[in-house]
């Protein structure tokens, strides 16, 4: 079927070459778009294919039908078409289109446009019957393609009505060539050419005038007229009486055409008019005949508005207008036979593997039971490839009773409803489904869909309950559903901060995803695992896992590089974050930014959100609090209420941490006022918000309150092995104790932290907390040297020394230049100021204008807080800039 949609329609022998329109089309190759817009029967398709024959331009032809209103499918067809001549073009885009939901369409389109640049000669894309496109995304996609296509790539839109594209702008930029019905109409000359030269009918001038006025130059009317001439003795008299009574001319002509057919042919035409695509074998089985192929070929020879869809003459279709006229007559003559015809067509399509056509004909035959049956056979595949729009369309065709009688289909329909945000309707179905379902695996799928719905509505407890039931009921054999269920269950555990259980669930998900060879689910479960390991303070294991997986992905040549880029975005982010924690700041930031950039190409909010969050954390770890805040702000934009809740929690608590570390009390007070108080003590947000709140209390010097809040967290965090936050809690306790002048307790807290982290390369976590921590670390070092105690002995000297030396370096770095403080040019200027050079002298020496020097000087004074040049030089020396 694919090939028939991409077939360039061939022109018959007896056609009129429209030389003047060819010139217009030639001119169109210099513009961005050629629009051929006219209603049915104006010879749009013939004109374009005839011109292509003459012009010999390489062409991808796409005959659009109503089923093409899915943007993914639409773009796939175009790429498949171009690949017929250029197999390498759009390979990556196509690969990405096969895993919908993970990558944004805009990005895929950009990738495709980039590929088009490689083609060196002219290439034409014809989108025929574009009026059948209703989908707004496709309109946008085509609009984008028109604007950004390379010059040697040309587009013709052929349509019955103007689509909502920015034609006014294209016109004003002289980037549009239009061919409309007034251009396409046959002139007297064309009519003469057709009837007298091509068809050799020898009409006189009066006949021609009459034909022109009766058909108004409309080509379909003229051609149908020619067909009715057969068997007419006096053509002039006949022409005179054609549609003489002002009736619809096509009605008149069609009647004439059918009258001169044999009865067999007449019935054949009427009955096959219900088919969008016609083949001999299909007609034979539908009509109980054995000569359909011959009939089809004779129709083609007789110019009977039938168009071959391939070179082998296997598939045909009628001209749409001709088919409409036939169908209307079928409706009048054989209304009772129509359902049976559809039923037989459906049967043939089913037997020959064309599911979608089989379903449509079954529906037309009013055999909903059959349609449901057919849909049930393909529904799992539709679900696995995220064809939610198609699923929704099918679901909407059936009554509730019919849906409930077909549980699996109904569940998947509910899933699609949920994805499209129709939660009340979805929930209504799910409740009813639960009442009626006995089969365990199906029950499991209902629970899993319920979980999805509860995640969307933000109900953590219910989401947990349903994910647990889903894992219980879904059979392990059902690999993909089971992998989904375990991922959902893992996520639910995470929200309840049950980290060990979360890891177990994710592990099961990974196993099933591997068995099903589903790379997407594998990447999701693995990257979540890496994150949970991090929460447990297992930095090394998490780092290693992420790195290993990245290597596996990069080495696997069977998977497309771009797809992997997106799936591995989170892994890069995690690896980058660890590198920075280990104080390998430059490499870490680079890697984390790489992950962040890759994630931008994803449509999935959790990919984008997660990578952005980790980048913000990485920036925080590197000490760049301002940039970290910028990224957190960016997160706000795309984390709406529907996005994963835990990302919101993490983003908010990071924001609080950053304002606290920057000492920005106003902002901090504001957030705290608007946030909290969360009641449930099991949940993820409880811990994160309480730690954040303690920071706030410390900033406000409410040390006792802070300490009691922190102490409350310790037990729970220990129980679930959440050592990363536990370490933070201990460091904050140390800060509070230190400020209360309780040195011993402060030392005790830091010792706890060191024992947790010394084998896991935690470094920046300490450094960022500032000099209080450094002072206490020095004390611990002293104590270790003078006293022995079991706990102190357990702490590695190397670890403490390493931390202290980094603290030391950090101070120097802070004092020394720091590029963000003075630009390179400002620094050059400052050096010359210190040498007592005048502005003019500095300008000469640096080859810059005196105005620029003045700007630099003004900035330097401002940044150093100096009153004049002398003071600037002194301050710069103090800070070690010079």
């Amino acid at each position: 079927m694919l090939l028939t949609k991409l077939h360039i329609p061939q022109t018959g022998e007896k056609i009129i070459h429209r030389i003047n329109l060819f010139e217009k089309l030639d001119e169109g190759l210099k513009r961005k778009l050629i629009l051929v817009s006219a209603t049915a029967g104006y010879g749009k398709t013939t004109l374009i294919s005839d011109w292509i024959n003459k012009n010999k331009i390489q062409t991808t032809w796409f005959s659009i039908d109503e089923r093409d209103n899915d943007p993914n499918e639409f773009l796939s067809f175009i790429i498949h078409g171009i690949q017929k001549a250029h197999p390498a073009i759009g390979k990556n885009s196509l690969e990405l289109l096969k895993s919908p939901g993970t990558v944004s369409l805009d990005y895929i389109l950009e990738l495709f446009i980039n590929d088009l640049l490689q083609i060196e000669h002219h290439l034409l894309l014809v989108l025929d019957d574009f009026h059948l496109i209703q989908n707004k995304q496709i309109i946008n996609l085509v609009s984008f393609l028109i604007d950004y296509k390379p010059d040697h790539f040309h587009i013709i839109l052929s349509t019955r009505s103007d689509p909502p594209l920015p034609f006014a702008r294209l016109r004003s930029q002289n980037e549009l060539i239009e061919i409309r019905s007034s251009d396409l109409n046959f002139s007297r000359n064309d009519i003469h050419e057709l009837f007298n030269k091509k068809l050799r009918l020898d009409l006189n001038d009066k006949d021609i005038d009459l034909l022109e006025s009766k058909t108004e130059g409309w080509i379909a009317g003229l051609q149908l007229t020619a067909l009715t001439f057969q068997g007419q003795n006096d053509i002039s008299a006949y022409i005179e009486q054609i549609a003489g009574d002002n009736r619809y001319i096509m009605d008149y002509l069609m009647e004439e055409v059918l009258n001169i057919q044999s009865e067999e042919m007449r019935d054949f035409l009427l009955c096959t008019s219900i088919l969008e695509k016609i083949s001999g074998s299909l007609c034979d089985s539908m009509l109980g005949k054995d000569n359909s192929q011959l009939l089809l070929e004779s129709l083609e020879k007789g110019n009977m508005f039938i168009i071959p869809l391939d070179n082998e003459r296997k598939w045909f279709r009628y001209h749409h207008l001709f088919a409409d006229l036939l169908k209307q007559r079928l409706l009048i003559r054989y209304k009772h036979k129509i359902p049976e015809l559809h039923a037989k067509a459906s049967k043939w399509f089913e037997n020959n593997g064309f599911s979608l056509f089989a379903i449509e004909h079954a529906l037309s035959a009013c055999n909903k039971r059959k349609a449901l049956n057919l849909i049930s056979q393909i529904i799992d595949r539709l679900w696995e490839t995220s064809q939610h729009a198609t699923i929704l369309k099918f679901g909407s065709l059936f009554s509730d009773e019919e849906l409930f009688a077909n549980t699996n289909f109904c569940i998947i329909y509910t899933w699609a409803l949920t994805v499209f945000g129709n939660l009340p309707k979805a929930e209504g179905y799910l409740v009813k489904l639960l009442e009626h379902t006995k089969d365990e695996n199906l029950l499991g799928k209902i629970y899993e869909t319920f979980n999805l719905l509860k995640v969307f509505s933000g109900d953590v407890d219910d989401a947990f309950k349903y994910s647990e039931l889903a894992t219980k009921y879904i059979s392990d054999e059902d690999l993909i559903w089971s992998a989904w269920a375990h991922i959902s269950h893992g996520e639910s555990h995470l929200l309840r901060f049950e980290l060990d259980e979360c890891l177990q669930s994710l592990n099961k998900a990974q196993n099933n995803a591997s068995k099903a060879n589903n790379i997407y689910l594998k990447a999701v479960s693995e990257s979540k695992t890496a994150y949970v390991l991090r929460l447990q303070g297992k930095y090394k294991e998490s780092y290693r896992k992420s790195k290993d997986l990245l290597e596996i992905f990069n080495a696997d040549t069977s998977i497309d590089g771009f797809k992997i880029g997106i799936l591995s975005s989170i892994l890069y982010s995690i690896v980058g974050c660890f590198l920075v924690e280990k104080n390998e700041i430059k490499d870490g930031l680079e890697t984390s930014f790489k992950g962040y950039d890759l994630s931008k190409k994803a449509t999935s909010m959790s990919f984008k959100g997660y990578s952005a969050l980790i980048l913000a954390e990485t920036l925080y770890k590197s000490g760049d609090y301002d940039k970290a805040l910028e990224i957190v702000k960016e997160l706000d934009v795309f984390l709406n209420k529907n996005a994963a809740q835990w990302l919101n929690v993490l983003a908010n608590s990071l924001r609080i941490k950053l304002y606290a570390l920057k000492g920005n009390r106003d902002k901090l007070d504001n957030i705290i006022k608007n946030q909290f108080e969360s009641g449930n003590k099991h949940h993820f947000e409880y811990y994160f918000y309480n730690v954040a709140k303690s920071r706030y209390l410390i900033v406000h010097k409410k040390y006792d309150e802070a300490l009691s809040c922190l102490q409350e967290q310790v037990k729970g965090l220990e129980n679930c092995h959440a050592y990363e936050i536990l370490c933070e809690v201990e460091l904050l306790k140390a800060k509070a104790y230190y400020n209360k002048k309780k040195q011993n307790e402060a030392i005790e807290s830091i010792t706890n932290a060191l024992l947790i982290t010394q084998n896991e390369d935690f470094i920046r976590t300490y450094i960022n907390e500032g000099e209080e921590i450094e002072i206490i670390l020095k004390e611990i070092k002293k104590l270790k040297a003078t006293k022995t105690s079991k706990r102190l002995d357990l702490i590695s000297n190397n670890y403490i020394n390493n931390l202290l030396s980094i603290f030391d370096k950090e101070k120097k770095i802070r004092n020394i230049t720091s590029e963000e403080f003075l630009s390179a040019r400002e620094l050059d200027t400052l050096k010359l100021i210190a040498e007592n050079l005048s502005n003019q002298e500095i300008a000469n020496q640096l080859y810059i204008s005196i105005t620029t020097v003045k700007t630099h000087v003004r900035n330097i004074l401002l940044k150093l807080g100096a009153k004049n040049r002398n003071e600037a030089a002194v301050k710069a020396k103090e800070k070690g800039f010079l």
Partner: protein, 65 residues
């Protein structure tokens, strides 16, 4: 919320087309055709207009009553 539509097209269209146009009533006025009847909603109306376009009939006026 059904709407009552009156659609005028040029020339005479046979009454047999009533079924094709969702059961709209066909009558004639000054040598032109009037399609008259109730339609479910605007989308249905646009569907009818598309049918008219697809047959290359010439639309004179559309009126919602």
């Amino acid at each position: 919320m059904s709407i009552k539509a009156e659609i005028k097209i040029k020339g005479l269209l046979d009454k047999k087309w009533e079924d094709w146009f969702e059961g709209l009533n066909i009558s004639y006025e000054d040598g032109n055709t009037v399609l008259l009847g109730d339609l479910n909603d605007q989308a249905k109306l646009h569907g009818i207009l598309n049918l008219i376009r697809d047959l290359n009939l010439i639309l004179i006026s559309v009126e919602i009553k």
